[in-house]
Symmetry: C2
Subunit: 176 residues, 2 copies
């Protein structure tokens, strides 16, 4: 997971992982079955260890401005995400993934969109959000924008430029 986090998953070979983890290759295959199983396991672990933070932000049910602020901070400032996000990196190379990992990626994506859609619908009933944009459209939009920001960080772009872009992006769904 750390290797996928630091580098591009597509550039980390099974051999490299084995030597990093000081594990023989057959041992890895016994446990994970193959590359697809390993990737899936990494993604599972990453989801419950890192992505949960994003879902927590939404679950707090805070006002829109506060929530967006927290998401912007997470994606563009949190040092934990300085080298990008395993999930979005895998999603970017989706066509290279095995069936299990690809399925998990899609699952996480739709889960995120769903969670944000639910959050926005709740905010709308409280009158905290404009009603000229479909919640699901806005949800997909935010998920993509966070992905863009994290991809930019992975590419080593200047953090303040990443933040500027993301702030501008989220302002689109704040406007009355």
């Amino acid at each position: 997971m750390q290797a996928y986090w630091d580098d591009d998953p597509a550039d980390v070979s099974i051999n490299a992982i084995c030597s990093m983890a000081e594990v023989s290759k057959p041992a890895l295959y016994r446990v994970f079955g193959g590359e697809d199983g390993l990737n899936r396991a990494v993604l599972d672990r990453y989801a419950e260890q890192v992505l949960v933070d994003i879902f927590d932000i939404l679950a707090r049910g805070a006002p829109l401005e506060e929530t967006l602020e927290a998401l912007v901070h997470f994606a563009s400032e949190d040092p934990k995400m300085a080298t990008g996000c395993v999930f979005y990196k895998m999603r970017a190379g989706k066509h290279r993934l095995g069936p299990m990992t690809r399925g998990r990626v899609e699952e996480i994506y739709t889960g995120a969109v769903e969670a944000f859609t639910t959050y926005l619908e709740a905010r709308r009933t409280v009158g905290d959000w404009r009603d000229d944009v479909a919640p699901r459209t806005a949800a997909r939009y935010v998920v993509e924008q966070i992905g863009l920001a994290l991809t930019q960080r992975a590419a080593g772009e200047a953090p303040n430029q990443v933040r500027d872009t993301l702030k501008l992006a989220v302002s689109a769904i704040q406007a009355t």
Copy 2:
């Protein structure tokens, strides 16, 4: 160029290119010097054949709304871009590129930001654009958003979802 356009450049090998073009590998190496030279040549050709359209839109000096509309249409509707954009695909895998190609990618990126910055500054003097966002920040923002849209198209996402996202994104710099 066509192979890079249809697929991910990282997934197209020199061998595959040679057999597609019905050219021997040494011949390709004689002409282009190697993978880096080939990539650079492809990018050069792509820039003057496709990217020029984007620069043309800016050079028209049309009102902001009209220009943004044209850019949105180009990125999310033009059938020519149905499988994404060679430039953005290469930029996404920048770390895998040789020095010449990487240099050209950065050149094109800064050129695009520059062109859009100049356009926005001109629009501001005409009073056609808000003055609470730095032109360069907005320029970088738009370049990234177009890249996101083209990346989504390359990934096979539904065109109307791509358009929705991009329209929402550009609305951020239109708001008064």
